[in-house]
Amino acid sequence: MKLVIIDTGCANISSVRFAIERLGYAVEVSDSPERIRAADKVFLPGVGAAAAAMEQIRDKGLAELLPQLSQPVLGICLGMQLMTRFSEEGQAQCLAMIDTDVRRMQVGELRLPHMGWNQIQAEQNSKLFRGIEDGSYFYFVHSYAVTVGNHTLSSCEYGGRFSASIGQNNFYGVQFHPERSGPVGARLLDNFIQLCD
């Protein structure tokens, strides 16, 4: 199994790599289109601001490649947001791999960023969440989110419901950080590697 983490130049690449290695897999970090195209599974990590990250992806010549990938791709946090059509953060045109958009969270009196451990609830029966119970806690850090819609796989509540994960065809995205979400996070990464197609 060839696993590749796309080198977006973002900050959480090491922790994603370590989490996959803790599961016992070898994984490569690369921004080479050939290496990414040849992978069995692709991870798109990311933290930071959407517009800046899109600029880096364009600079690396990956903006055309990523939507064309036919193998499973898992976007993590900002990586997930970049898979949508558009992010309100910096009015960024994104990769349009999943037909939805990212909006600033409207949480009323609550604090932003939404930071910490929160519970997810399944909205669809997805292989990504096999063996993971409703109400499991995952680690979130974000101020923008995808509203609940057709592509929502699981949801989370913080001043309103939003998509904790989304999916369309071979593209999957999680708003939380599975690499920092203890045993359930490890299970989700393993599900992606073993079960998703």
């Binding site: 690449i13 090491s14 922790s15 930071g48 604090r111 910490g116 451990w117 101020s143 913080y158």
Partner: protein, 257 residues
């Protein structure tokens, strides 16, 4: 529901975890990685590593332990100590830390907060504040260079004003260390935390004073903080994290299981 966080703090000095009382007389608690791993396994929600010598010594010490910690633990962690520039922060984040916490260098150069926010995003930027209640004036004052008693200074900032300033500059989280309570285990400074909470629209973490399980319950229910940080009660085995979390759940506090 978003859970309140229990955050063991590991003070690091010359590559070992240490603990002092009111910032003095540091004693060695143990090695970094096994402690980090055991806290993660016992249910800690997050870890903070403070390199307590770095800022006051005007140097950036060896931080290779950051990537060794990132390899072994599966919960988020934050690194503080001697981060004076965007480049310093970038190195720590690349090694696998989830957040960086800045204290004295942000006081010396508040523009650093803006730069860190613009480069890495708000979610990475934690501001640590050492706040001291001065009985004579009745004011909460921000202190600088608290890692070294001889160099500790009182700044011109009152705590609430500095809290407003760092948020305006893009801080994503604030750790408020109430110095009068640090290491004495008499309870968190509820009055101060409650008052700062009103100025703080980002996550607020309480630090200083945890002595028993009721103190954690009090700080969550009375001061509405997002997380509670503690060191000695965990390092000395006075409170076990699984018991603490069961106790808090029993008190109706939202806690990760």
């Amino acid at each position: 529901m978003l859970a309140r966080r229990i955050i063991p703090c590991l003070d690091v000095k010359e590559g070992k975890v240490v603990k002092g009382v009111q910032f003095r007389n540091h004693e060695i608690v143990g090695d970094i990685e096994p402690l980090a791993e055991s806290y993660a396994r016992s249910g800690a929600d997050e870890l903070v590593f403070y390199d307590i010598t770095a800022s006051s010594d005007a140097r950036v010490v060896d931080k290779s332990w950051v990537s060794r910690v990132a390899k072994v633990i599966d919960i988020p962690f934050c690194v503080a100590g001697g981060i004076k520039s965007v480049a310093d922060a970038g190195r720590i984040l690349e090694m696998g830390a989830d957040k960086i916490s800045v204290n004295s260098p942000a006081l010396a150069n508040p523009e650093l907060i803006t730069q860190l926010h613009d480069r890495f995003g708000q979610q990475c930027v934690v501001i640590g504040i050492d706040s001291f209640y001065d009985q004579q004036s009745g004011l909460y004052q921000v202190k600088q260079f608290t890692g070294d008693e001889k160099r500790t200074q009182t700044t011109a900032w009152q705590t609430a004003d500095w809290v407003n300033e760092v948020q305006a500059r893009g801080a994503g989280e604030i750790v408020l260390n109430c110095m009068n309570q640090d290491g004495v285990r008499q309870g968190y400074d509820i009055a101060q935390l409650k008052s700062i909470r009103q100025h703080c629209n980002v996550p607020l973490i309480a630090s200083g004073g945890a002595g028993d399980m009721q103190h954690f319950s009090d700080v969550f229910t009375e001061a509405d903080v997002d997380g509670a940080l503690a060191a000695s009660v965990f390092h000395k085995g006075l409170i076990a994290i699984p018991e603490l979390k069961a106790f808090l759940r029993g008190q109706g506090v939202a806690i990760r299981n």
